[in-house]
Structure formats: C-alpha cells, structure tokens
Symmetry: C2
Subunit: 148 residues, 2 copies
DNA sequence: TATTGTTATACTCTATAACTATA
DNA sequence: TATAGTTATAGAGTATAACAATA
C-alpha cells in the first residue's frame, strides 16, 4: 500500500488530532481544558503534592502558565494550594478529593478508550506500531528531524 | 514488549507533540505559526485561489478565524486578497510568489523530515504502522472511541 | 546572588454573536 | 431570506519581563 514515510508521518498528525478531539470533548463536559486536565493527570501520576516549579518542568511550560492553570483548577475545586513546610517561597499543589476522583476517571477513560479503539488489533501490529513510534522519538531526541 | 493498547495510544500523543515541536520551530524561523502555515499549505495543495468560506471549511475553523489568519498572512506578504469576479460579497485568497515559495519549502521540508526520521524503517513495520493508524481513524469516524 | 511565584503585558488560537454588503 | 466577510467580545494557551518574598 502507500506505506511511505510521508504517509506514516501524516497519520501521526491525523491520529493525534482526532483522538485529542474526542478526549477534549469529554473533558469539556467536566469543565476542563486539555492543559488543565494534564495538570491533574501529572499530579495523579506523581502521587504526591508538587511544587509549582516541578509542575512547570513536568508540563514543559512557564511558571507563569502554571500560576494560571492552578488558579483555574483551584476555582474548579480540583486542586488545592498548601504552604511548603520548609521553603516559604514555594507552594505545594495537591489534588482535592474531587480532583483525585477526576484524575481517576481520566485514567479509566484513557484505558477504556485505548481498549475500545485498539483492543482487537493483532498484538504483532501493535508491537510494530510501538517500535516505529519509539524509533521516531529517538530520532527527534537525538539529532533533529532534518526539518530545518 | 509493552505493546498494550494504552502504550500505543500514548505513543501517538507523544509523537505528534514532538514532531509538531520540531516543525513549529522551523515555522517560527520564517515568521509563521502552525495555523498560518496550514493556510498556505491548503492553498498550495488546492492549486488555485480559494474563497474564505472554502478555507474555513478546509481548515475546520470559523470564518472569523479565517479573517484573522488571512489578515496576518497578508501583512506577512505570503497571501493576497483579490475580489471575486462574480460574487462581490466574496474574497479570493491567493498565494503570492513569496507564499508559493514558502509553501513549496514546507512541502519539501515535510518530505525531507519524513525520510530523515523514517527513511530506514523496514517497509513491513511502516505498513503495520499505517494499518493500525487507519484502523484507529476508522473507529473514531464510525462510532465514538468509548471515551465518554 | 539565586530561586519561587506573582503581576503586567502581549500575541495567538478559537468561539459566538451582531452587523454590513451583497445575492 | 440566505450567504460572505467583518467588527466586537471573550476565554484559553503561551511567552517574556519586572518584581516581591525568601533562601
């Protein structure tokens, strides 16, 4: 078939856009945006409260943006700001009970979506898929992709 | 190894984000944003000037946004507004020489990047990759992904 | 002097609604 | 009455720079 590098790369974009659309819709229903949901997800995966500086690194965004995201989530009731026990400059961001519940739902929804979409794809194809994806990621991390 | 549906879906996101980062950087060097570059690309692929309404459909965005994008590109010198020959309400958006050159460069850069990243990936893996991707896209187009 | 988070400012993406000119 | 594009307005993502409190 048309298994050219160009076609494969285009698939990546198309896929990400479509899947993101679906997820974004589900998030909107819960009063969340993708960026804000990502904060909850990161906190959930980390398992403990995080300082905003850590969040800005994990999210690859500016401290300023973290301030805005946490402000919004605080109003949303899913996140809480606590004083850092030893460093009075820092702020600890923790999931509230509602936030933990939402993060748990996102976790479940992700798994459910993945299984619904890919559940009956042959394991061999899945493996090849992941292999190629990892290869691309390696290339991008190591050298540049030659896109300059 | 970890060829679970969850892992595969996560790869899609990671990939798209990283590749988009690289491309976005190259675009910024030319004074373009991804959304604006997409306008040039669509015009380039279409091969002829387009009415803004057509652009809004092709780009899946609002007419309002098209106005803003075309405004910016006009100032950027890559796009031109011409009166529609028969419908005086409509505006034809055409690539300027500079715009055509930029679109050509994007085309080349995309191909070059795809080859640089995936050029030596076995054709069999590439084919599996595309197969899985198409499968996901089908699922998303047909039913929902079960993400609700 | 360096770091954490904030305020100030700005640009971009994106959407809805109201309006103008034309069909 | 319907359509093409614009102005008006708004929320959200994202960035830089200046600044306050603290280390």
């Amino acid at each position: 078939m048309s298994s050219t590098p160009e076609a494969a790369l285009e698939k990546v974009f198309e896929l990400a856009a479509r899947v993101a659309d679906v997820m974004s819709g589900a998030l909107t229903d819960r009063g969340l945006t993708p960026a804000r949901a990502e904060v909850l997800f990161v906190l959930h995966q980390h398992g403990r409260p995080m300082v905003q500086r850590e969040l800005s690194q994990a999210l690859r965004c500016t401290p300023r943006h973290v301030t805005a995201l946490v402000d919004a989530l605080q109003q949303h009731g899913t996140v809480r700001r606590d004083p850092h026990p030893t460093d009075r400059r820092a702020t600890l961001v923790a999931l509230t009970d509602a936030g933990a519940a939402t993060a748990g739902w996102m976790d479940d929804a992700r798994r459910a979506a993945a299984r619904a979409i890919l559940g009956d794809v042959p394991a061999r194809d899945l493996a090849s898929f992941v292999t190629v994806a990892d290869r691309i990621l390696d290339r991008l991390a190591t050298g540049d992709g030659g896109a300059g």
